[in-house]
């Protein structure tokens, strides 16, 4: 269970550019939910993820994971339970390290980082099996650097790495936005598979309405720091892309666009 309670966040406080993004914002994600988050630019989607992960501080409120208040816990410590995949495929992997080294890094999350060998040779077959499941042929390229892979391959690898050690929450920040349609499709299917296999509670921010409607079991739409649509279960299943699109148009008209 993940809760954002009474979150207040101001950007540039005390200046003429002061902007209130969240004012008493509340959002609760139950265990096992896969929430798609849609909304126009500046609606607070990514800020919400940043607040959740600790990348930006909050002014007021509480962030609660499994009944523990993590509001004051630094970003890196929160990542023990949270895995995050970014829009930029370059952010999830180390470009100058080989695939094998990247896999070894991911495999060691939560363990000690002492002076033992970085790569456990006994695990190589396991890594290969994992990579084979991507169907990208990466298992044959263990010793090439990740920097020479394509964006889609890197994103697939990033997803694999983030779900290699047990996490409870998966945060997807427009993770298919920088990929071509076919690769995006592939990554989306892979995501769904990993979420199901690992039973992850997931929040996915996306601009792709079809993904938002097709995947997951809950959909929310954000607008100016508030949740204006929240569909769960059957409501979500019956939701059509056009419904979401109409809501978007409504908001735009409101704003005078």
């Amino acid at each position: 269970m993940l809760k954002l309670l009474n979150i207040t966040k101001y950007y540039n406080p005390g200046t003429v550019n002061e902007m209130c993004l969240f004012n008493n914002f509340n959002f609760v994600v139950n265990e096992g939910e896969f929430v798609s988050v849609v909304g126009s630019n500046g609606s607070g989607k990514t800020s919400m993820l940043n607040i959740l992960c600790g990348s930006i501080p909050i002014d007021q409120g509480q962030i609660i994971i499994n009944n523990v208040d993590i509001s004051n816990i630094p970003e890196f410590k929160r990542q023990r339970k949270i895995g995050r995949v970014y829009q930029n495929p370059a952010l999830g992997t180390c470009p100058n390290m080989t695939i094998l080294e990247n896999m070894s890094l991911a495999d060691n999350k939560g363990k000690s980082w002492g002076l033992s060998r970085g790569t456990n040779k006994k695990r190589i077959d396991y890594y290969k099996d994992k990579l084979r499941s991507l169907n990208l042929g990466l298992e044959e390229k263990l010793d090439i650097t990740v920097g020479s892979l394509s964006g889609g391959q890197r994103q697939a690898l990033a997803l694999l790495m983030i779900t290699m050690t047990p996490i409870e929450f998966l945060i997807l920040d427009e993770h298919t936005a920088a990929l071509d349609p076919k690769t995006a499709e592939l990554i989306m299917e892979l995501t769904d598979q990993l979420v199901k296999d690992n039973n992850l509670t997931t929040i996915m921010v996306t601009h792709n309405l079809r993904y938002a409607v097709d995947y997951g079991n809950r959909l929310i739409m954000m607008h100016q720091g508030e949740i204006i649509v929240d569909k769960v279960g059957g409501d979500k299943k019956n939701l059509k892309i056009d419904d979401v699109l109409n809501k978007f148009t409504e908001i735009s008209v409101e704003l005078g666009n």
């Binding site: 995050r84 952010l91 999830g92 100058n96 390290m97 890094l105 999350k109 939560g110 980082w113 920040d173």
Partner: protein, 299 residues
């Protein structure tokens, strides 16, 4: 004539090997951590100051190497803390440390800007070294230096293959990944700076023992020299993947010193040394132009 050239070459080789240890340290900060660490201009003479002072008091030369290594690590840790905990920019953190170390180095020597140890026993004067065959006896210094450099290189290579080493490489490559691994990237940077400055401190110790004195100004330009060695080495062997980066850096350091020796042989004064260093470095930078931008955390 040929003999003179050979002597110049051996001189350059020795110097290159001494500075190669320092260059390995700069390799860690500049290439692996992506951190231009100027504190090396202070930690290099600090290693020399500690060594000269201890040797005058009769400490074993080998022990001074270890002490310089440890004190160098401490200085590096401080630079790291200034950068990470006090949130001072990388370049400025190094400058602060370098400036502070100038005074500290004078404290170490008891206020003397120059401490000669010509007559004292150094790592090059151990009894067993007399056992080296007559024919290669003149190269004793080179041999000793070579052994130290190789040991340090192998240690660094080994370290970079450990889990801790992987994390160090990851933090310079893409620190978002380190955060994703639930590790504190600041802490990893501090470790990297400690190791790098330990190498530089050791290099300073070897320098003092080889040249026979400590000089407070011996640190000026260390960083630029190290950078030059790293960039020469790495770019020269870029296409030869079987040459490890650490080996390339060592060769780069020797080549750099040979270039300087040639410049001096062609009539430039030793006082022009820093100018040569700066000019060479500029040329290298322009030619290689390798400061590629990394993927920054824009989340």
């Amino acid at each position: 004539m040929l003999e003179t050239i050979w002597m110049i070459f051996i001189g350059a080789l020795e110097e290159g090997l001494v500075y190669a240890i320092m260059a390995l340290g700069v390799y860690i900060t500049y290439k692996i951590l992506d951190f231009p660490d100027l504190s090396v201009d202070g930690t290099f003479p600090m290693g020399a100051a500690i060594t000269a002072t201890l040797i005058t008091r009769g400490t074993s030369p080998l022990l001074t190497l270890i002490i310089s290594f440890i004190i160098g690590a401490l200085a590096g840790t401080l630079t790291g803390i200034i950068h990470v905990k006090c949130k001072v920019r990388d370049l400025l953190a190094g400058i602060i440390m370098m400036t502070a170390l100038y005074s500290i180095n004078l404290r170490i020597t008891g206020g003397k800007a120059n401490v000669p140890i010509f007559t004292k026993k150094t790592i090059f004067d151990y009894e067993f070294l007399k056992g080296i065959p007559e024919a290669i006896q003149p190269y004793t210094v080179s041999i000793v230096l070579f052994i130290i450099v190789i040991i340090m290189k192998l240690l660094l290579d080994l370290y970079l293959k450990t889990k801790s080493g992987y994390l160090l490489r990851a933090v310079g490559d893409n620190d978002t990944v380190v955060t994703s691994l639930a590790m504190d990237k600041g802490y990893v940077k501090i470790i990297g700076l400690a190791i790098a400055n330990a190498f530089v401190g050791l290099s300073g110790s070897v320098y003092a023992q080889k040249s026979g004195y400590f000089d407070i100004y011996s640190g000026t330009g260390t960083m630029v020299m190290g950078l030059a060695s790293v960039i020469i080495g790495i770019n020269l062997f870029k296409r030869l993947t079987f040459v490890k980066a650490t080996s390339a850096v060592i060769i780069g350091s020797v080549i750099y010193k040979i270039c300087v020796a040639i410049a001096i042989a062609f009539g430039l004064e030793t006082s022009d040394l820093k100018l040569i260093t700066a000019a060479l470095f500029l040329i290298i930078l322009v030619v290689s132009n390798d400061r590629k931008r990394r993927a920054k955390n824009n989340a």
